[in-house]
Assembly symmetry: C2
Homo-oligomer: 198 residues x 2
């Protein structure tokens, strides 16, 4: 451990709090940054210092953006009839990268977790109901295929049970390129239960 | 690619310029930072913004520190008779971590590389000669065991050819735990050439 008042040690300590960055990687990054031109360190420092002020949650869907309405909600080419519910923005980014969905999103920024004290009131579900009062026809729940993700999906289904809005869930099964030999039992069970005629 | 004016995209772009951090890891880090309390992003931002001003090269040895003389050069318990020459500060850190050396250092911040236009005048060798005018008895050259590291070691040997200062080179051989089966020919050659009676 480097003592306090040591600028490299402080930088290493802060960097090593990032996920998947241990002390050794953090040290390597710090020395790399020191070796480069000071402009780079300043630009990265500024970007980090400002990030929480500059990034705004979209008032409609909760996606991150630089303005009150995110790029997807402002895009009139996106289908307003279908909303995809995701747990967090990186999931939205992954779906966008796949180019598979042309509707709009609703970001929960969390999942139901009663044991951790996260009840339905902590998720923006009122906002989702409000959005569905207009011409929304379908909600695709794309929360993770985990216990909490499934519980959240079921809860959303209940919320809209009396509504005209259809609630669907993304398919679960053997992933693309997946070897059956190495696929877990739950996934195989889902793959069989969800089988389709070809 | 995210368009300009997008704060997350800018942060991802800057983070992905770091070594071993691709766009995907940078995206994950950016979202992690956004999810955490703003104080962390600000502290890391500040540490990066200030790093080049706060880190000073030691006027004696070139090591990084917060003052004009580094911690090792100011430490009177370190043996002033022996100087270890390293290419870069991370090498010094690795040697310090091993606890194997109790002398002082001389950091070249580079290696001889005539093809890249790095001649002896670009390395702080005058300063090394100056330091050796006092009571230095030995220089241990701990530059890498690469072509450039070896060339630099040989050059330093020549510089001190007429001097009373002994120039030595760290040993080269099969590393600790190394399997002979998977050791390259050059290393095996060095291991045999450097063999010692036991």
């Amino acid at each position: 451990m480097r003592p306090a008042g040591d600028p490299i040690g402080e930088l290493v300590e802060l960097l090593s709090r990032l996920p998947s960055i241990g002390e050794r990687t953090a040290t390597r990054l710090a020395f790399h940054i020191l070796k480069r031109e000071p402009e780079y360190a300043k630009a990265l420092g500024q970007a980090l210092t400002d990030i929480h002020e500059r990034v705004i949650r979209c008032e409609d869907c909760g996606n991150y953006g630089a303005e009150a309405k995110c790029k997807i909600c402002s895009d009139i080419r996106r289908d307003p009839k279908i909303i995809c519910v995701v747990a967090q923005v990186p999931d939205l980014v992954a779906i966008e990268r796949s180019g598979t969905f042309r509707g709009r999103y609703h970001v929960l920024h969390g999942l139901l977790a009663p044991l951790d004290g996260v009840g339905p009131d902590r998720l923006p579900l009122d906002a989702l109901e409000k959005r569905c009062e207009s011409d929304v026809e379908e909600i695709v729940v794309a929360t993770p295929l985990s216990v909490e993700g499934e519980a959240t999906a079921l809860y959303i289904k209940q919320v809209f049970a009396e509504s005209k809005v259809q609630v669907s869930r993304i398919a679960s099964g053997v992933p693309h390129g997946g070897e059956l030999e190495f696929t877990d039992q739950v996934t195989l069970g889902r793959a069989f239960a969800g089988r389709k005629q070809i």
